[in-house]
Amino acid sequence: MLEKFNSLWDSLPSYVQSLVWIVIVTVVLILCVAFLTLWERKVIGWMQLRRGPNRVRILGFLPGFGQPFADVIKLLIKEVVIPARANKILFRLAPMIALIPAFAAWAVIPLSPQLVISKADAGLLYLLSLTSMGVYGVIIAGWAANSKYAFLGAMRSAAQMVAYEIAMGFALVGVLMATGSMNLGKIVESQAGGVGSWNWLWLFPLLAVYFISGVAETNRAPFDVAEGESEIVAGFHVEYSGIAFALFFLAEYANMILISALTAVFFFGGWQGPFEGWPVLGATFLGAPSFAWLFLKVFCLVFLFLWFRATFPRYRYDQIMRLGWKALIPVTLVWIGVEMVMAIYRVGPWARPWYH
């Protein structure tokens, strides 16, 4: 049976194979997003000594697991209200513009040693340009709704995005210097050799900058001033209802998973196993690279997002700008200088023989 399947698979043309993988990745991602919303409510509930959602069951057991599906069905059958003075075309277009980059970015992420949809050579630049396009959804939504609250949210989001984009780009320049490639697959391969040779150790300041900018880029707490429900109701999506709102919601959570996956790929060795090259463990399955390691890393990093939301109060707007421009960008610039010195004296990642 399995052999038959394998031969059938091999006989398919390569574009059909890619198409099948694209569909699989997208569907799995949407399911992950659905359960991430449940996981977030559960985790924050536990942190606040509540139970979280525990009523909707799947087939009568697993309390709470039906919640995401119940939410989706509820949002699907609600009316999408379009304000009378809104720009009809852009109002409908904005949720899609927000969602598409969040999914398209997965094309270049190496999921396992064998599996990556596109081995694009400029993969890192592709990711940077796609993540920077997500802001259009927010800006257009804020403007098209013809509402002052939505517009304020959009403006805040745009300014924040531009500020943190630069810090993010500079942090990735450091990764580029340490791994010598813009191909994400090669970035992961160059971090081979267990937990000590991943990038997080030598690029720790850049890791911090990247993850903080990632949280800001996804408009998550404590940087969620674009929503700011205590000041501007719900920010850019205040006029959206039903499934149009759900698309924004989906985009936000897909972006969270994306940023976590990218942090895992750039700083935590992607699909590399942490015990690789260790005396006893290295020989077992624990030392082997696999998709499971990537999943575990992404899971831990996504948990950080939820933890932040339950812990930190919202930043004041001027403090967000100050942090972005005056703290994060100088840190990255200094660390790129430090990396230059490390490269000259062949310390850390630059001590590897293949580098020279």
Partner: protein
């Protein structure tokens, strides 16, 4: 064949959105049409295997420049009647500029034809391990390092000049000193007073 069809599709979208930039009445639509122009021209560059240039065009212009542009255009209350006032007076200048650009492009196409490059066909396919980014990097930081540094310096001067020209120190402007805010201690703000809970009779 597929590439040619794609080229014509993208080219059509590019031309339509380029016309849209100058014909739509709403400045926000103009800016969005310009974004569309950048994206489609990036797609056309991808077709001739200039992937680095294509991605950088999207990254820099769509991701950063146009976001700021939209930001400004949405905030401004642009009076269209006032904007259109000088249109016929300066139309001749626009025509001359358009003509100059067309002549330049035609010149490049003609010169390329003279060099034996067939411009009507796509790029010759490159080997799979060919890295566009690497080759461009070698040229920029090797052969053209000096002009690149000069251009970078020029940009830096422009940034400094723009900030220096627009930074004004108004008298009596209230500012927050963040360092002072961070360094503040509880004792500076709150004073605990020991007193009896009620007045003595």
């Amino acid at each position: 064949m597929l590439i040619q069809i794609l080229f014509h599709v993208f080219a059509a979208i590019l031309v339509v959105s380029a016309i849209g930039v100058i014909t739509t009445r709403n400045p926000v639509f103009s800016a969005l049409a310009l974004v569309m122009c950048f994206v489609t021209s990036a797609a056309i560059w991808l077709l001739i295997e200039a992937e680095f240039l294509a991605v950088v065009l999207v990254l820099v212009y769509v991701g950063a420049v146009m976001v700021l542009f939209l930001f400004v255009v949405m905030m401004l209350d642009i009076d269209l009647a006032e904007l259109r006032q000088g249109f016929t007076r300066f139309a001749w200048l626009g025509w001359i500029t358009a003509l100059a650009v067309i002549i330049e492009i035609a010149g490049v196409v003609w010169a390329k034809g003279g060099l034996g490059v067939d411009v009507t066909r796509g790029a010759t396919p490159l080997p799979a391990d060919y890295s566009n980014t690497l080759e461009l990097g070698k040229l920029l930081y090797g052969r053209y390092a000096y002009p690149l540094e000069l251009a970078a310096m020029l940009l830096l001067v422009a940034i400094v000049a723009a900030i220096a020209l627009t930074m004004r120190h108004r008298a009596g402007l209230k500012k927050q000193d963040v360092d002072a805010q961070v360094a503040v201690r509880a004792a500076d703000r709150v004073r605990l007073v020991k007193m009896d809970p009620e007045k003595r009779p």
